[in-house]
């Protein structure tokens, strides 16, 4: 499991950067769990999705520092029957999209990282 600013014992982020990221995660609503577990499987319940795009706004804020659905790693698509979502390869399972959803259409399930 990834902890602190290190991966497999190697520091990958300067401490100050990591602290800044950690503070950011704490300030973001519902994301405190990310301190311990950093990756999630994102589950989609299409019958609950209203297409409000809040997931894309949250994702782009975390990963691009701006609000922009087109820069998010999650895309919400409107089909004839229901909405669907598509994750880009860049998605790292941070769970911000699920934290942001008002409708519980996205939920996150912790994924144990490889040792």
């Amino acid at each position: 499991m990834r902890q602190g600013g290190s991966f497999q014992g190697k520091r990958i982020l300067p401490r100050s950067w990591f602290n800044r990221w950690k503070r950011f995660a704490e300030e973001y609503d519902g994301s405190r769990e990310r301190e311990a577990v950093t990756r999630y499987e994102i589950l989609f319940f299409q019958e609950r999705c209203t297409g409000c795009l809040r997931c894309g706004l949250a994702c782009s804020e975390i990963h691009a520092g701006i609000f922009c659905p087109d820069r998010a790693y999650i895309e919400v698509l409107e089909g004839p029957e229901a909405y669907s979502v598509r994750f880009s390869e860049a998605c790292n399972g941070c769970g911000a999209c699920a934290d942001s959803c008002f409708y519980d259409a996205l939920r996150k399930k912790p994924v144990e990282a490889e040792p």
Binding site: F24, E27, Y28, D29, E47, C49, T50, G51, C52, L53, R54, L57, A58, S60, E61, A64, G65, I66, F67, C68, P69, D70, R71, E75, L77, E78, P80, E81, A82, Y83, S100, F102, Y103
Partner: protein, 620 residues
């Protein structure tokens, strides 16, 4: 200072010359008029000539989205347009939600689009990261707003936001509207016709520039507390499941749940009041309808439709044409009376006008949209019909305010009986009868006065004004316990705040906001120092400017004759608290108190030199 929230550019479009140019958003003006609705009005003030024909190339449409639009704050979807409207002849605001348009306009790099002139052929305006471009729209002409959104979604990508018109707008029908993102309508009073007169079928926006906030830490801290409050709201799940049907249960819950295909929310909205409905059985089985709300789809039941499926079908026909439902049914009622009195005659093959008959209403919707037969006369709206037919028609006309039918009140579609701020607002808003800007605790009938102070504080009403609005039982002098006229001033200010920031004005949503929070969020997003008194002053400036814009067009917007007689005939409106029948002098007194609360001149009902000086509007 970094100014977040604003995209930073204004797009000027001259359709006559087919030219576009861009200029930086005037941040000085933005600071004084907040943004969104406020800036739309400010830009319109300089560009809409007094007395101009609303359907002439000289009329201007200013479209814009406020600084909170495009952030992830709840219900910050609002798009506003300001133009001179053909139904009323006044300059009015038009507002809508929408999933993508406002957000994508900002992501394409523009806060506002200012459209002037008239294109020689049908065109659309494409606003993207690469700039703006006027394009041929011939193949889209004649399409419904829903089909136009779909076609442009295919052409520009699924995240593109679309504002467009249907055939009613193309045919310049003064009660046509625009549609936004297939979920919302924009522009009661005839914005559709204004865009149609310019041959502008659609504005499509898409971009990846992003919306930034200035003070991130402050923003996140405010948002965290705010979201906790929303998630803890005990009725949130019920709202999400039922939408506006929770407030207006017009059909049984089970029937609605069976028809509901899915709920649709405007961008970042926790409630989601829009609906996609599929008619589960009967005629027309399997039809799928997108609507701004199931309640809207069921409105014809008020006029006597027996089967809810017929109501859905007919309203979807109106939406496909881009017609204003309330005005359509009011015109139909008028047409029925004109036919009954022999003032007009139906043409060969034209059926009887029956408001309770789905087949009749569907026929007439088509006839009006195409401007065929008697439909050509009816398509001119109340103003055009009365001008054509003269005095005999005037005798059987329904209640009208500035040439439009007030849709709330006795004899109207929404048979509200108690006279609160939304009802008075139908007279006092310069745009004509619309309840949207008059929100207050009186939205709900028979609310105990004890809860008013809490709501007034939320709306940012100063303490001294609360004492004037709720003078108490011992006020004497015939003063009512609730002063609706004075309260309406603060409703208009609250609406100006929400509209200028970009927050939805629906009571179900803005209940989560309060004025203090709005000031803090505005400051966090834009970086413009803002406290509650400062926010109030800017909102006052916005609404006062709106008032001034309509001053040159025939005096006070609420002159005595504008009060419909029908409001005072049995059964008419009743006073909000005591529920005694309302009289014309009661309302006239409320109007005087509304002026007084604003500090406007009692005789002219207009802001005086001192007020204009205080608000920095003297030079205008």
């Amino acid at each position: 200072m970094k100014t977040g929230g604003f995209a930073g550019r204004i797009l000027y479009v001259d359709l006559t010359r087919e030219e576009v140019r861009q200029e930086p958003t005037d941040l000085g003006l933005a600071q004084r008029f907040l943004g969104g609705l406020g800036l739309c009005l400010r830009y319109a003030f300089d560009r809409i000539p007094t007395g101009a024909d609303p359907l002439s190339p000289e009329n201007t449409v200013v479209i814009g989205a406020g600084p909170l639009v495009g952030t992830d704050l709840p219900s910050t979807s609002r798009v506003y347009a300001v133009s001179r409207l053909p139904s009323t002849g006044t300059v009015g605001w038009c507002g809508s939600g929408g999933v993508k348009f406002g957000c994508m306009l900002k992501n394409a790099g523009f806060d506002h689009v200012i459209v002037q002139g008239r294109a020689k052929r049908p065109v659309l305006l494409a606003v993207t990261d690469q700039g703006a471009e006027i394009r041929e729209a011939g193949p889209l002409w004649g399409k419904s707003p829903a089909d136009t959104c779909e076609a442009l979604g295919t052409a520009f990508g699924p995240s593109a936001g679309v504002l467009c018109i249907g055939r009613a707008g193309e045919n310049r029908i003064p009660f046509s509207m625009a549609g936004v993102d297939r979920t919302a309508t924009l522009g009661r009073g005839g914005l559709g016709a204004v865009l149609g007169s310019k041959n502008l079928k659609a504005v499509v926006a898409r971009g990846g520039r992003g919306v930034e906030v200035s003070h991130r830490r402050q923003y996140r801290s405010l948002r965290r507390a705010f979201l906790q409050r929303i998630r803890a709201y005990p009725h949130l799940r019920e709202w999400q499941e039922m939408g506006l049907m929770k407030s207006f249960p017009m059909i049984p819950r089970e029937t609605y749940l069976r028809a509901k295909k899915r709920r649709v929310a405007c961008i970042s909205c926790p409630v989601g009041c829009k609906d996609v409905v599929e008619i589960p059985d009967g005629d027309p089985q399997g039809r799928v309808v997108h609507s701004s709300s199931m309640v809207n789809l069921l409105t014809p039941m008020i006029y006597g439709f027996q089967d809810w499926r017929d109501a859905v079908r007919v309203v979807s026909v109106l939406d496909e044409a881009g017609l204003d439902m309330f005005e359509f049914f009011a015109i139909m009622g008028f047409a029925r009376d004109l036919c009954d009195r022999g003032i007009v005659k139906r043409g060969r093959g034209e059926p009887e006008v029956r408001l309770d008959s789905p087949a009749s209403m569907e026929f007439w919707a088509g006839q009006i949209t195409r401007r065929e037969g008697l439909g050509d006369l009816l398509a001119r709206g109340f103003g055009g019909i009365l001008e054509t037919l003269g005095a005999p028609a005037r005798e059987c006309a329904p209640a009208l305010i500035k040439g439009m039918h007030p849709y709330a009140g006795p004899g109207s579609a929404l048979p509200w009986e108690l006279f609160g701020t939304m009802e008075l607002g139908q007279v006092m808003d310069p745009r004509g009868p619309h309840v949207g800007s008059g929100g207050s605790p009186t939205y709900f009938a028979r609310r105990p006065l004890e809860v008013f102070p809490r709501h007034l504080q939320r709306m940012g009403v100063p303490e001294d004004a609360v004492a004037r609005i709720l003078p108490g039982a011992g006020a004497g002098g015939g003063e009512p316990a609730l002063n609706v006229g004075r309260l309406l001033k603060h409703s208009h200010c609250w609406f100006a705040v929400l509209g200028s920031l970009g927050v939805c004005a629906r009571a179900q949503v803005n209940r989560f906001y309060d004025a203090e929070l709005c000031a803090e969020l505005y400051e966090a997003v834009t970086g413009i120092g803002t406290d509650l008194p400062g926010l109030r002053e800017r909102a006052e400036r916005v609404w006062t400017l709106y008032r001034l814009m309509n001053a040159g067009d025939g005096g006070r917007p609420e002159d005595g004759e504008a009060l419909p007689e029908r409001w005072f005939t049995d059964p008419g409106f009743r006073e909000y608290v005591t529920e005694r029948p309302l009289t014309r002098p009661d309302v006239e007194r409320m109007i005087r108190q509304y002026h007084d609360e604003w500090g406007w001149d009692a005789a002219t009902g207009m802001p005086g030199a001192e007020t204009l000086e205080r608000l920095g509007l003297a030079g205008l």
